[in-house]
Every structure is written in structure tokens, then in C-alpha cells.
């Protein structure tokens, strides 16, 4: 059996739907539309979770979710069909191979999840998360655009200092554990609910060392306040270390970019 040549529509849709087949910079017009529709879907899922909004018209949200399901399914099927224009994935076996690549499996799971959500009346949250996942997948496929360069620059800045960043995370974890242990000892007897064990004191330690400071738990004894004050002061180091590393790493990558030109930045990732 010989493979018939791809139709014009097939070639057009393939270029439009497969980011890696798109000859221009950034995303194709159709993919931009898909991206906007997914974002609208996220907004809809967020709004639907609020009873005051959903109860205005539950039927509207039902239809909306059905529409999103149909759209995503159609997009998936059309993408599979348009693969006839691809050298690599043409034919039935090619399409099966394509459907078994990680991004396609993710897409399929998202679609199945959305259909289950629609019929079994699951929480709209899975819809939110699944759609968020699809946005990310499309964004990472962007190519040759300013966005793609920015993503690569940030990835490189983060990856090239991954050991230093991991160390500063380890340093933060050690300080967190130390603070929680000390406060457990000095405040545990006075406030057993808030500081009666190290895991409980860790809730306080995280709120303090990230400088969130809800104020639901805080030490009341003098010695507890002194220890907590010292902990709070080290929070500056916990923020300053990773920020300093990121700043230096971005600076380094930018400088490299200037010396070698943006072309090099595109290729040797």
C-alpha cells in the first residue's frame, strides 16, 4: 500500500497545529487562538468554582465546559490527521508513534480528564490544572521568537547555577529546621498547640523565614521572642542568597550573550 501525498489542507493544518513544523517565529495563528481559548477555559474554570458565579447559570457553565471538551477533542483529532503531511509520523503506525510521545499522551490525558469531569461532575479544579498544563506545553514549544530566547536565557541562568541554588535551598532548610527545633524547646511548654512538636513549629518557622508572618502563631515568652527575633533576622539571608545568585547568573548569561551574539545563545543550549 503506497501512502498518498498529503492534501493541501493537511499540509496547512500540520504547519498550523504542530509548533515544530511552523516555519515562522513564535506560534502560528491557529495555535495562538488555541492558547487564547485555553486561557479563557482557565478563567471559566476559576469562575465556575465560585458558587456565587456558578449559581447564576449552572447550565451556561455546563455548555461552556462541553464546548471546551469538543474543541480540544477536535483539535487533537485534526492534529493526528494532519500528520499525513509529516515525513516522520505519516501512516497509521506513524500516528500511533506520535500519539505515544510524551506531549501527545499528556494532551490525550487532559482531554479524557475534561470529558470525565464533564460527565461525572468532578470538581472543576482538575479542569483548571489540566488546562494550566496545556498552556505550559504550548509555551515550551514556542520557537525562534523573543519569548523562546527569554525562556532559554532564564533556563540557562537557573541551570548554570543549579548547584548554588540547591545549596541555598539546603541552607534555608537547615535554618528552618534549626529555628523550629529551638522554638519547640523554648515555647513548646507554653503553647503546645502551636509549638508542641517540631512539625508544628515548622509551620511558624516557614511563615517567619519567608517573611509571610500570618500572625496566627508567634512566641510569647521573652526567651521565645529573642530566639524568634534572631530567626526573623536570618530571613534576610535566606532571601538575599538565592536572589544574589540569580542576579549574578543572569548577568553572566547576558554578558556571554553579548560576546558571542544572540545566534550562539540560540544554538548551544
Amino acid at each position: 500500500m503506497t501512502t498518498k501525498p498529503p492534501s493541501r489542507l493537511q499540509s496547512y493544518l500540520h504547519r498550523q497545529l504542530d509548533p515544530s513544523a511552523w516555519p515562522g517565529a513564535g506560534l502560528s495563528t491557529l495555535n495562538k487562538c488555541v492558547l487564547i481559548i485555553i486561557c479563557l477555559g482557565i478563567v471559566a474554570a476559576v469562575a465556575e468554582s465560585e458558587p456565587a458565579i456558578r449559581d447564576l447559570s449552572p447550565v451556561f457553565f455546563l455548555y461552556l465546559n462541553a464546548a471546551f471538551c469538543i474543541l480540544f477533542t477536535v483539535e487533537y483529532v485534526v492534529r493526528l490527521w494532519s500528520l499525513g503531511a509529516s515525513q516522520r509520523y505519516r501512516g497509521v503506525t506513524g500516528r500511533i508513534r506520535f500519539a505515544l510521545t510524551l506531549p501527545s499522551i499528556v494532551d490525550l490525558l487532559v482531554i479524557i480528564g475534561l470529558w470525565l469531569d464533564l460527565f461525572l461532575g468532578l470538581q472543576s479544579l482538575y479542569g483548571t490544572l489540566l488546562r494550566l498544563l496545556r498552556v505550559l506545553r504550548i509555551l515550551t514549544l514556542t520557537r525562534n521568537s523573543n519569548w523562546a530566547i527569554a525562556i532559554r536565557l532564564m533556563r540557562r541562568a537557573i541551570l548554570s547555577r543549579r548547584f548554588e541554588l540547591t545549596l541555598s535551598v539546603a541552607f534555608a532548610a537547615a535554618i528552618l529546621l534549626l529555628s523550629a527545633t529551638v522554638l519547640f524547646v523554648v515555647e513548646g511548654d507554653g503553647q503546645p498547640d502551636a509549638f508542641g512538636s517540631i512539625p508544628r513549629a515548622l509551620w511558624w518557622a516557614i511563615a517567619t523565614l519567608t517573611t509571610v508572618g500570618y500572625g496566627d502563631v508567634y512566641p510569647v515568652s521573652v526567651i521565645g521572642k529573642i530566639c524568634a527575633g534572631v530567626s526573623a533576622l536570618t530571613s534576610i539571608a535566606i532571601v538575599a542568597l538565592p536572589t544574589g545568585i540569580m542576579a549574578a547568573s543572569f548577568s553572566d548569561v547576558l554578558q556571554e550573550l553579548r560576546h558571542t551574539g544572540p545566534k550562539a545563545a540560540k544554538s548551544n543550549d
Copy 2:
């Protein structure tokens, strides 16, 4: 009809009132005075909004607002009149063209707004915002001064990394949405008022991930605290990313400045 040559007063006022006609660096003496008067006007509008201050002497604030209205109107009219000394906007049609430029329309709207505010007794807040707008307009017109160089440097540092900054905003938005969705699921049943929907949980997520942490809402269940703790820790990344990008970008622009000299920094914006 031949245009008569501009009078001396006209030329003087044109140079003084139009920042683009001012030959020196920075702002002219008259524009500095206008700037100070507007700032005093902002202080007056802020003070007037406080009942305890306004009630000391409502008449005083009435006269004060009237004085500001008259001052701004006179300044606007004189500026229009002094355009006779301008090559570009002289004559009646020239003045109309000038009045239809964006900054002039803003100025006119500000003046109309202040008069309406005075007679219709609107909230003093519009006065505050309108005056804030005028301060910004004057500041952006500053030229050749150290301030102008600083503004340009900051603009360039921000604009040259706009893709990276937008990406870190998108990253922050995704984390916000993810945190809100997770907390909605794990805490929604226990605290329906605070976490009963994703939009409600977003209020908690913003307070936590910007490290503001009012403490009006916070998770109480163990699993909720664990998820919130992880969210709180990612707040460091949300602050570190844009700060690192800004630092590297400023560094880059400063270095460019050194290699090409401040002259280049002034011209090739």
C-alpha cells in the same frame, strides 16, 4: 494676514512653560514652581480627604481648591498664548493643533475635572489622581538633566528585559493559580468562606506569595498547612526571579554606558 513677531514676554514664557523649548538642563524655574504647586495640591487633596482635618476649616479647603483651579487654568491659557513664539504651533490653527496633542488634552481634562470637582463637590480623590497624572507628565518631559538620564536608564533596563520580566510575571501567575487551586481543594470544605472557591483562595495566595501575610485567612488543617508551607517557600523564587533580572539588566545597561560613554546613552534610546 501676516503673523506678527512674538513679543519678548511671549518668548520668555514659551521657554519657561514648554519643557521642550527650555534650552537648559532639567526643568525651567517656572516649571519647577508649577511642579511644587502641584505637589502641594496633592498634599492638600490627601489632607482634605481626612474628615478630622477637613472639618477644621472646610472654607479654607474650598478657597485652596479654587486657587489651584485658577492657577492651573491661567497656566494653561498662558502656555497656549505663549505658543506665538513657537515655530511649530503659532497662529490660531497651530494652537488648536497643540491643544489636540495628547499631553494638552490630558492637561485640559485635568483642569475640567478640577473645576467639576470644585463646583459639584465630588470626592477629592479625583483631584489627587488628576494631580498625580500632571506630576508624571511634567517629569517625563524633563530633559538633558541627571534625572532624564536616570529615567532613560531605568526605562532601558526594564524594556530590554521585558520578555524575561513578563515571563517571570507569567510564572508568578501560574504559581498563584496553582496554590489557590490546591488550597481550594484541601481547605475548601473546612473553611468555605476563605477557601470555598478558587477566586477566594486567590486572595490568600496573593497575600502569601507576595509575603504580605495579613493573617486574616490561613489554612488550619495539617494537609492545608503543608501545601501552604510549600507555597510560601516558592514565594522566595517569585521575588528572586524579577529582582535578579532587574539587577542583571541594570548591570548590563550600566556597562554599556561605560563602554560607549554617557553621550551614547542619551541618544540611542
Copy 3:
């Protein structure tokens, strides 16, 4: 009348007490002792302000304060006397000229303040502030040491970007005013105590935009929470801008230092 040559003790004390006459790096041994004594004085003043500590032995703190007063007075008198070894300030008129220099006037006022504090029973706080002032004065006189280089580096990093830093302060002030005005409008009616005027709303705005977030006031209406959320997110920019400028400026000064050597850093301030 001929000036008699300075005695050995005079020369020794002059070198020891006058930081500008000290030939070595950093502070002289005697000045280090003075610095430590002043720091102990600050600790004593802080401790004395706490009733639970002061009431243990009020007499002890009276004697302690008297001892500090006497020490500072003796130090001042001995410094004046040792000026006989100075070329510039020797003789009676020289000493009067020295006593009229700004640092000497500050020292004299500090001493007078401490004596008044002792006899009139003023709050110990003036003692704290006055002593803090003296610590700063001694520190700024340090020379040729690593500390002096660090101070100069920081001063230069801050001063060379003073326009950018002032602009980011102005930007922060504008955002503060804008946030307070918006919240005053949308929350003022619901919570007149917390948001009933722009000055009142500014207290909330400062707590939010510096990410302190006490949680004593926060918006409760939906529209208020949306506006507050947007404000809270801009807090990241308010922190990132000055931090980025400082980082770039330090980087710039460090690089200059490397190219020109530490000697240049010492001289051309």
C-alpha cells in the same frame, strides 16, 4: 608667649584619641576601648528602659550612668588637652577653634545631654540616641582599614546611582498614594476607621507594599480585595527596583575597583 613643646604623654594621647592623627590603619587601641564602652552604654540604656530590669537595682543604673558621664567628660577634656601635640589646634585659641568644629560640638552636646539626663531624670532614650550618634561619629572617622574601604565602596555605590534610587523611591511613593486613593474609594464606606480617608488608607498601603502586612486592616469587599491584590503584586516591583539598582551599582563599583586597583578606590572618592 612661646608655646612650650608637647609632653610625651600629650603626643601619645593625641595619637590615641584623634582618629585623624593615628598613623596606623583603623582605630587606635584607646579609641577601640572608647567604642566598646559606648556600645556597653547603649546596651545599658536599652536595658534600663525596661522596668523589669531597672527595678532590680535602680541605684546600679544611676551609678552606671554617672560613670559613663564622667568617662565621656574625661575623654573630652583629655582630648582637648592633648591638642598641644597638634600643629593645627595648639594653644588656647586653637583649642577653641577645635571645640567649634562640628564633631566637637556634637561631642559636647552629647556630654551635656547625658549630664542633664542624669540629674533631671529624663528618659533614658536620649542617652540611647546620643550614644548611637557617638558610635556613628567614631566609625566615620576610621581610616585606611578594610572597614573604611567598605564604607567608601558602599557610599560610592549608593551615591553614583542616587538619581535612579530617588526615582524608584518616587515611583514607590506614587504607587503608595495611588493604592491608598483607590482603596479609600472602594473600601472607605465599608470600613471608615481603616479606609475612611487617604491618610488612613496610607497606613494600609505602607503595610501592604512593604510586604509587612500586620493584618490589623485589610479590605473585606470583593472589589476592595481585587484592588488590594493588584497593589500587593506591585510590591514585588517596589522591592525589585531598588535592589536591582543597588546590585548593579555595587557590581559596577567592584569592577572599577578591579581595573584601577584598591589604591584608586581609596583616593578618588
Copy 4:
């Protein structure tokens, strides 16, 4: 008595247990296992401190702690025995010399502490801290790996700017003291419990200037709020200064690294 040559097992264990004898990069397989076991031990100690978890099965935790004690003791004894393969510490006197080095004393104290903890039923917290100490000790012994380079880079970035960092700590301390003193004066009479002395006001000052902001104490008078607002705004400088210094220092060290190559970074620490 002649020293007999080390057995194969001895040589193997020596290379595996002594990080400085390990020829490869990073940690040996056995040391990685030890590291993982210690981390599990920390998790166990943290979990044990929580009554809800410990009461599930107190016997389980007793056996677990006993297992950790035996493991650490065996590891210590085997390490001592394997020293027969070392040139420097072979023989009885060599082992005694090795046992008297600082890391070995720390190890011994940790083991004794854990045994005492087990039999005397001390708080599990000492176990946590002691194990945390051992993790740190192992990590600092890592060599030639990417982790070791990252640790050295961070140490150098921090140490080379230690004077500037100390100055910014001193600056923060002065601002803290100043804020606390001012708030003590303006709010002390109204809220004696929270602001009745400088040490009490320091608790507020630390919570504010680190931007933690628990909200347990805050000024209520107008003048107190104005002073607190100014203090809160300076918190940005307190965070921006050390972060900026760290960023510049990391940048500087990275640049040095690029010019001289990673080899230089490894040697001239």
C-alpha cells in the same frame, strides 16, 4: 612490633569511609548511604517530636533510635579500624591522634549524645540537632564535585565582601534600635505591654523591619503610625543592601572564574 600491611577490606573501607581518601569526585557510595541514613534519622526525630505520631507506636521509635545508635557506633568503630590502611593514622597511637581531631571528637560526642538520649529519654530535639551537625560535617568534606565548587564559590562570594555585609548588618542594627527607641517614646504610654521599653519595642521593630509583620503588636496612635510607616519603608533598604552586595559579589566571583578558569577557582581559595 612491625605494622602488618592493611587487609583488602581495610583499604576498601578506608577509601569508602574517609572522604579525604576517596579518589573520585563527590562522596563514596558508602558515605552517600550514611548521608541518606542520617537524613532519615532527622526525619524520624522530627516525626517523633509530634505526640500524634509518636503515640502511634512508641516502641517503633525506640527501636528506630536504637538502630541509628548502633549504626553510627558501628560506622565510627569501622572507620577507626580501617585507618590501618592510612599512612598518617595507622597504629594505636595514630588512631588516638585521629580520634582527637575535631571532626572525630564531634562524631564521638554525637554518638554519646544519641546513646544518652536513648537511655535517659531526653528530648528528641538533641537527636535532631546532633544529626543536623553530622550532615553538615559530611557535606563540608565533599571534594572535587560540582557541590564542592558551589560551596567554595558561595564561601568566596560571602567572605570577599564580609566587611560590606557586616556594615549592612550594623546599619540594620542601628535602624532597628532607632525604630524601637522612637516607637518606645511615641507609643510607650498608650501600649505599655507592647512598647513600654526599648527591648519590648525591639520585638515590634524586628517583625516590621524584616517585613515579617505578625500583627500581634502595632502602633495605634497617629504619630506612632507615621513613625512606624517611615520605619517600614526603610525595611526595603535593609533587604536591598545585603542582597545587592551578595549579587555583586557573586557576579564578581563568577567573572573571575571565567577569566582564570575553574582550575584556579578550585585551588586559590
